[in-house]
Each structure stands twice: as C-alpha cells, then as structure tokens.
C-alpha cells in the first residue's frame, strides 16, 4: 500500500501551502485596505446619483438636485408633528455637526425633508427647522416630488390615522410612519452612505469623516 507511506509528506506539503496562503492573504488584504471601514454606516463604494427633484426650502426658495452642490449633505426625513423621534434625531444632528466642526472640518449641510407636505407648509418648516440649528435646511413641496426622492432612497413612508378624534376641530389627526435613516450625499448629488438607527453622535461623526475622507 503506497498511499499511507506517502501521506505524511502530502500532509506536510498541504499544511505548508495552507499557512503560506493565509500569510499571503493577510498581507494582501492588509496592504489593500488603506482606508478604515465605517463603524456602523453603510458605505456605497459606487455612489448612486440622486434623481432630479424640486422642492421648496424653508426660506421659500427652490431646492433641487443642483442645490446639493458645493458641500456634503446629510438628509433626514420626518415631519413637524412628530414629537418624539424627529426632535431627538434633529438634536443628535445638531451635536453631530458641532462635533464635525470641533474636529476642524467644514460643517455639512443638514437637510430635513418633510414626509408630511400636506401639513408642513414652508412657514411651518421655517419656524421648526432652524430651532435645532440655524444652518439646517427644511424642505417641503409636492407629494409627487417628495416621492421621487423617497422612492429612490428607499425611504418608507406611510400615513396612519391616530385614534380618537382631537376635540378642537383639527381633523388631520394622523401620524406618519417613516424611515429614520440618515443619507449622506456628496457635493455631486450622489448617495455615498446611509446611517441606520440608533443614531449615536460619535459613531455618525467617525463614519462621516471616514466616508468623506476627512479626519
């Protein structure tokens, strides 16, 4: 039986080859990965251009895809009748931009897009959004334009009535279920990254700086 006699040599060769392979792979991977990975965010290595859209900023000006030029933008979708998740997230975003600036970087553009354009007028947005940070931009407009954006970004939006009618004549007592993800858009209007919940200031700042190639 020649096979058992040869097997120790074959086994030895195989083990050496395996170790060599692992070492080579480790070496190759470590030299290839020059940039660190985001902690929590999803990084789109192939940035996805946003569709053309046209909404109104809280100062009443047209805000479209071209308005995203010149700076990185963080997009967040919500509505002003949202008393829990939206103000919490906008407060977090205020701390995020503060920290980005404190680390010596340019303040990104923060855009709060209303998923409730039926109730969120330009005036409502003008009163609401700058409360969190005077640099934040609120967007509202036609539902169709909003949907162009939400569909492309995969933002889930659905309207659901809140039980028990409000006594004082306000008939539109509904709530809006919405995705809480933050979308990072580059100065060319392309989606580069997505920050999922929970939103933790330090993690968002770290990931923002990694994806945008800053420190």
């Amino acid at each position: 039986m020649p096979f058992p006699a040869k097997s120790p040599l074959i086994l030895l060769t195989a083990v050496i080859a395996l170790i060599g392979g692992i070492v080579a792979a480790r070496f190759l991977i470590s030299t290839e990965r020059v940039s660190p990975e985001p902690v929590n965010a999803t990084w789109l290595r192939a940035p996805r251009p946003l569709p053309e859209f046209e909404l109104l900023s809280h100062s009443g000006q047209v805000f479209n895809k071209e308005s995203l030029a010149g700076n990185w933008s963080i997009l967040f979708f919500g509505f002003t009748n949202c008393p829990d998740v939206c103000p919490t997230t906008l407060g977090t975003l205020n701390r995020v931009v503060g920290e980005i600036v404190a680390r010596g970087n340019r303040q990104p553009r923060v855009v709060f897009v209303s998923v409730d354009p039926m109730r969120d007028s330009v005036e409502k947005m003008a009163a609401y959004v700058p409360y969190f940070n005077s640099g934040f931009i609120g967007l509202t407009g036609d539902l169709a334009d909003l949907q162009t954006l939400t569909r492309e970004l995969g933002v889930a939006v659905s309207y659901s009535p809140l039980e028990s009618a409000v006594a004082d004549g306000e008939q539109q007592n509904y709530t809006v279920d919405h995705s809480t993800a933050l979308f990072l858009v580059d100065p060319d209007g392309r989606l580069n990254g997505i920050f999922g919940a929970p939103h933790i200031t330090e993690q968002i700042v770290d990931d923002y700086l990694i994806i945008t190639g800053q420190s």
Binding site: T80, P83, D84, V85, P87, T88, G91, S160, L162, E163
Partner: protein, 159 residues
Amino acid sequence: MTTISLSPASLKSEYRRLFSRAGAWGFPLLLLCACTQPEAVTISDAWIREAPPGAMRLAAYLVIENKLSSTITLTGVSSESFATAQIHQTTMDDGVARMRMIDELAIEPGQLQSFNPGGMHLMLINPKVNVVAGDTIVLVLHFAKQADLTVDAQIKVGQ
C-alpha cells in the same frame, strides 16, 4: 427665624426648645413616612421637550412606580395647557419609526414604567400656552379604579 443668644444660661434652654420643637414635628413626619411610602404610586422625572416654534405636538416623559400590591392601569392623561393628550408608544421596526396611541397601560406591583424618548411618551396635542424651557406644566394622569395623580413636568431642551 430662631435666634440663639450666646449667654451660656439661655443656651441650654434654647437647645431644649429646639429639641422639643423638632420632636413635635418629627413624630407626625415619621408617621406620614411610614404610612404613605410603601403603599403608593409615585411619578418622578416628569419633563416635556421644549417645543420648536409652531409645534402642535409635544411629548412628555416620566417614570411611574407602582409601589402598591396590586396592578394599576393608566387610562389617560390630560392637561389644562393642551387641547388633548394621549398615551403613545414609538416602535422601531426595520428602521421605520411608528407612533401609535395605546388605550391603557397596566403597571404591575413593584414595576417601574419609564416613558423615554424613542419608547413611550405622553403625546400633548395643540398647546394653549408657550412651551418654553424653564417653565413647568401640570399633567394629570388618570387611572382605572384609582385617584388621579398630578405632576409638575419641567420643560427642558431635549437631549
């Protein structure tokens, strides 16, 4: 209010007076503590997130502790400062936030029920007053088979 003169003779009597006064107050205080502390429903850390201008929906947060030996049921909330108020719960499902009204909330004996951002909140609808940090707003919690509880909620800038 009480001044103690420094002459050694009167010092002794002043001490005695203070002592007896403390004793007179101490006894009923002790009784009060012994009777109300273990058998109660307490509400603590009540606060309302300051409203951005024009906000018609606000959230109040607090902690309810049921120190009774039986389950209590929170059935609602009201405030003179708002048109309506409701018990709400936020849930996160697959990255989507949903806010729903809940009709009532059972709190078991010994249970500490927290209302926190991203979890449960008391939804305050259509304010009749300006909701400004530093002020307080009175909230009334309604329970089934249990007296209402009133709490002063601090208005704070949200964290």
